[in-house]
């Protein structure tokens, strides 16, 4: 069983990596949005340093939202999902694997490149570390929550900006705690409380979201 899941994740990652377009565009989007802010606000390092957490986090959040739109899309169109629904594999597990592989292919590159963007926005070492930690704890939550919305509207033809409208309000707690952690880091305050809350949110979402996503997928496919 466990082996099957690993095979599934591996398979998904391979498919995504072959289409560079699908995982490179969110990354480029992320970098571009972050670079727009210094151009819009002026190159003053102090101002940029102050708003860096907000910029990086909002940009990451938008990039992930953009990438989530087609997480189940191909599986539904190619009829792969119908096969899964007929097979004995629980849909919840499949969904869980999909989200994990999506996180590895779409969020991990963002996290890996974020220290570089931190350098552009004059973050010091503690802030860089905090940024990476909050991204590591927060992005899985973003993926898991976004997957619910993506599954619900999987068969809707003209999605447009529906997914961001649906899901963005649910991202607010993660955004608040992550950016507050980074502000606390810049003021040399203790950070464990922020990480604890973010971790708690991550675990809570990890437990409930896959079930809701599989329920949403059953509803969404059926139209």
């Amino acid at each position: 069983m466990f082996h099957n899941l690993l095979v599934l994740i591996h398979h998904d990652i391979l498919i995504t990596l072959r289409q560079a377009y699908s995982w490179l565009t969110p990354l480029l989007f992320f970098v571009l949005v972050v670079c727009l802010f210094p151009l819009a606000l002026g190159p003053d390092t102090e101002t940029l340093n102050k708003i860096a957490p907000g910029i990086i986090w909002v940009a990451a959040l938008l990039a992930i939202l953009m990438s989530l739109g087609n997480i189940f899309r191909n599986d539904v169109h190619e009829g792969y999902l119908d096969l899964i629904l007929l097979s004995s594999t629980p849909l919840t597990l499949l969904v869980f694997c999909k989200v994990i592989s999506h996180w590895i292919t779409h969020c991990l590159p963002l996290i890996l490149i974020s220290p570089l963007l931190g350098v552009l926005l004059n973050l010091n070492n503690t802030e860089e570390l905090t940024l990476i930690t909050t991204l590591l704890l927060g992005t899985p939550v973003l993926c898991l929550l976004g997957a619910i919305g993506s599954a619900l509207i999987v068969s809707v033809r003209t999605q447009g900006l529906l997914l961001p409208i649906l899901i963005m309000p649910l991202y607010i707690p993660v955004l608040i705690f992550s950016t507050s952690a980074m502000m606390a880091a810049s003021l040399h305050q203790p950070l464990s409380a922020y990480f604890a809350i973010l971790g708690a949110i991550a675990l809570f979402t990890l437990v409930f979201a896959p079930f809701l996503t599989s329920a949403a997928l059953r509803i969404g496919v059926n139209q």
């Binding site: 619910i148 509207i153 899901i167 309000p169 608040i176 949110i201 809701l212 509803i219 059926n222």
Partner: protein, 245 residues
């Protein structure tokens, strides 16, 4: 037991018949609470010692914010009945609630902003209550947008129900994170907007207004649901009989 309840109250036909009997009483109770609340709130309640007569906006702001939250929770209850028990009427109630709830949220934002102008000197401050009401408005918009793009009736009901449940699980987390965020960034200017110490003469109109807002929700919900029931049961015999009467 469940079958009996379903036949007696929850089937669209019996719900339509029973709600007709209930509506006049709700309307009467609403009229009583609302007229007392309006009059007492505007004229009988003493002026606040800090905010003067400006605090009287509390009698429309707090009830609308409270009702907006309550409507979202009621939507989640309807959602459970839709998903678990497949009650048709619950799905109708849920989508009708969303529209009323969005209006109440809008009202809470507008009155809060009008209250803020004389108290803070500006129309908008990122205060905890206003911010969480704003997020609630976005949640309502998301729900309405989701339901408006799905063509199939049954899918629309069930997708909306799932979204309402996801929203209601998140709502407390969002609410407390916003409160926490607000205390973290709070400046000294906000102290003037602290909750007025409520004297009984101030409290009774507030309770009456909250009751009136909830009753108004119930009233418009039933009226809207009756319309939707007619539209959805367009092919059934009882609707045809009702129309030809």
């Amino acid at each position: 037991m469940w079958h009996w309840l379903n036949q007696k109250f929850l089937a669209p036909k019996s719900f339509y018949a029973n709600s007709a009997k209930l509506i006049p009483w709700i309307a009467l109770a609403f009229a009583l609470c609302f007229s007392y609340g309006l009059f007492a709130g505007l004229f009988i309640a003493p002026a606040d010692y800090q905010q003067g007569d400006g605090f009287r906006i509390i009698y429309v702001h707090v009830p609308s914010a409270f009702t907006a939250m309550a409507i979202y929770f009621s939507m989640a209850v309807f959602a459970v009945f839709t998903l678990v028990f497949r009650v048709k009427v619950a799905a109708i109630g849920m989508s009708c609630s969303a529209k009323i709830g969005a209006w109440f949220t809008f009202l809470a934002l507008i009155t809060g902003s009008i209250w803020g102008k004389p108290m803070w000197g500006t129309w908008w401050i990122w205060d905890a209550r206003l911010t969480s009401v704003l997020i609630l408005l976005f949640l309502y918009f998301g729900f309405i947008a989701l339901q408006s793009v799905i063509p199939n009736q049954q899918t629309r009901d069930r997708a909306g129900a799932l979204m309402a449940i996801v929203g209601v699980i998140n709502l407390p987390i969002i609410h407390y994170s916003v409160i926490w965020w607000n205390t973290l960034h709070q400046g000294p200017t906000l102290s003037k907007f602290a909750k007025p110490s409520i004297a009984p003469a101030m409290l009774y109109p507030l309770l009456a207004m909250i009751a009136a807002f909830l009753l108004f929700y119930a009233l418009t919900l039933l009226l809207r649901m009756r319309n939707q029931i007619l539209l959805r049961e367009i092919n059934s015999q009882w609707v045809a009989e009702l129309i030809h009467e």
